[in-house]
């Protein structure tokens, strides 16, 4: 029979304790850093260190492990550790941070208002995307608020994209005002028209 059965090679499990893990998180081989990140997934005090390590980590696999540990900690501290990376220059880190926030809607949700008001347009753009998955009760209203003041057309477009899914007919006046502000912006005007049509079509159902 070609099927064989072996006893394991005795791969040594590499599980440092929390103290050791904090020390190796940013040093040593990729393998050591990965094991350290993983070992900290149940060390509530490690959130800040994990967040700092994200800034210097350039291996995508270790980065994912750090984000997963922060996710697993699921605390206010882990949110604080992740938020700054929404501003990272590294696109994959930004996306990773966004994905992690998305996976903790309960703790990330309360930060949505401040993210939608952030001075950095890139952060506001990501925040629109976050609004889609957080399903925060008042996400629609936050997005309406954004549409009233936002100057960047691409951010309005992102918000519209989300509102097309979660918005209701009460958005119509907001959309009309936004269309007026961006009347010289054909692409956005078109998006607004599409969303307006979709949400108007909902009206009878909502009334009924």
């Amino acid at each position: 029979m070609p099927l064989i059965r072996r006893t394991p090679d005795g791969v040594q499990p590499d599980r440092p304790d929390a103290g050791e893990a904090l020390a190796t998180l940013t040093h040593g081989t990729r393998q050591k850093r990965w094991a350290a990140a993983r070992a900290l997934s149940d060390a509530p005090d490690a959130a800040e260190a994990l967040g700092r390590a994200l800034s210097s980590e350039d291996d995508p696999h270790v980065r994912e492990a750090i984000l997963t540990s922060l996710l697993r900690l699921r605390s206010a501290a882990s949110i604080q550790a992740i938020l700054p990376h929404l501003r990272s220059d590294n696109a994959s880190l930004r996306t990773g941070a966004l994905d992690a926030l998305r996976a903790m809607p309960d703790v990330a949700g309360p930060h949505l208002p401040e993210l939608l008001r952030d001075a950095d347009p890139d952060v506001r753009l990501l925040a629109c995307d976050l609004a889609r998955s957080l399903r925060v009760a008042d996400a629609t209203h936050l997005l309406y608020g954004l549409l009233e003041v936002e100057r960047e057309a691409n951010i309005c477009a992102a918000a519209l994209d989300v509102l097309a899914e979660i918005g209701g007919p009460e958005a119509l006046p907001v959309l009309a005002r936004c269309a007026e502000r961006f009347h010289d912006h054909p692409f956005l005007a078109f998006s607004i028209k599409v969303v307006t049509e979709r949400l108007s079509a909902q009206t009878p159902r909502h009334r009924g």
Partner: protein
């Protein structure tokens, strides 16, 4: 069980296994806890919970065993098995020095139907089966299920997708509507306990060419899915493959894998090459 006790128990279970139970599953949870309380003679929830947390008389293992959903059968989603023999293994062995073992991991394997199916499928459908040494490992968190897997006795329901020819060839009848996997075949699959969200436990299994991780991630939340996926990434040789259940998708879990679309199945690959290894 009070609201708060229910929440603490579910959190405990989640931290240990990755499995998520919400309020909607309250009845399911409650019934199992009551059973364990009766079995251990605990008179109140707090006293049972203390015993559980202290892992008195191995209670943790018994507790986890009653919460798992072990549903499985032979040749489940066999299009993936077809993909294994038409595409995946050819790619794996291409890069292998002669004499090296091809390793396949069925995790979770539940009561063994999946790893035995892999073995039978290979013997039946992989022309090169004699040219390589193939090691199949089946692992699960549920030690009761593993015991049954080692026993290798199955009923009609588990065998429903196998042709009578295959049943006759690889099983012996051992009772009314009961069949046992041939001794040789049973001996060729190794069964081991593993907790997918515990890196120490997954790592100890070494590296594989192909991992079947089907129908378990559906019981996890995002954080546990990521833990499991990242652990399994470590268990793959560069270029190795992972097959998930039909309702599961790695794209929504981890960006580390590459999606590979074959005629028979969509599978996920650890990028070949040592750079990220």
């Amino acid at each position: 069980m009070t609201e708060e006790e229910f929440r603490r128990l579910c959190d405990f279970l989640y931290r240990r296994t990755g499995m998520v139970f919400t309020e909607a599953k309250r009845y399911y949870v409650q019934r199992r806890v009551t059973d364990r309380m009766t079995a251990t003679g605990a008179t109140s929830f707090p006293s049972y919970f203390a015993r559980l947390r202290g892992d008195l008389n191995g209670e943790l293992e018994q507790f986890i065993n009653v919460f798992t959903v072990n549903e499985t059968y032979f040749y489940r989603e066999d299009h993936q098995l077809r993909c294994l023999t038409t595409d995946l293994l050819m790619e794996c062995v291409r890069a292998k020095p002669p004499g090296e073992v091809v390793r396949i991991w069925s995790v979770p394997c539940s009561t063994g139907e999946e790893p035995y199916s892999i073995a039978i499928w290979l013997l039946e459908n992989w022309p090169q089966v004699d040219a390589y040494d193939i090691e199949i490992v089946g692992s699960d968190i549920d030690t009761r299920a593993l015991e049954a897997a080692r026993e290798g006795v199955f009923g009609k329901r588990a065998l429903m997708r196998l042709t009578p020819d295959l049943v006759a060839k690889y099983f012996v009848p051992v009772g009314p509507e009961q069949w046992r996997v041939l001794e040789d075949l049973r001996q060729s699959v190794r069964f081991t306990p593993v907790n997918l969200v515990e890196t120490g436990e997954t790592r100890a299994h070494g590296r594989f060419d192909v991992i079947f991780c089907r129908n378990v991630l559906i019981y996890f939340d995002d954080a546990s899915r990521r833990l499991a996926a990242e652990n399994l990434y470590e268990n793959l040789l560069p270029g190795g493959y992972i097959c998930l259940g039909h309702s599961e998708s790695m794209s929504r879990i981890s960006p580390l894998f590459e999606v590979r679309r074959y005629v028979d199945a969509i599978v996920y690959q650890r990028p070949p090459g040592g750079a990220r290894g």
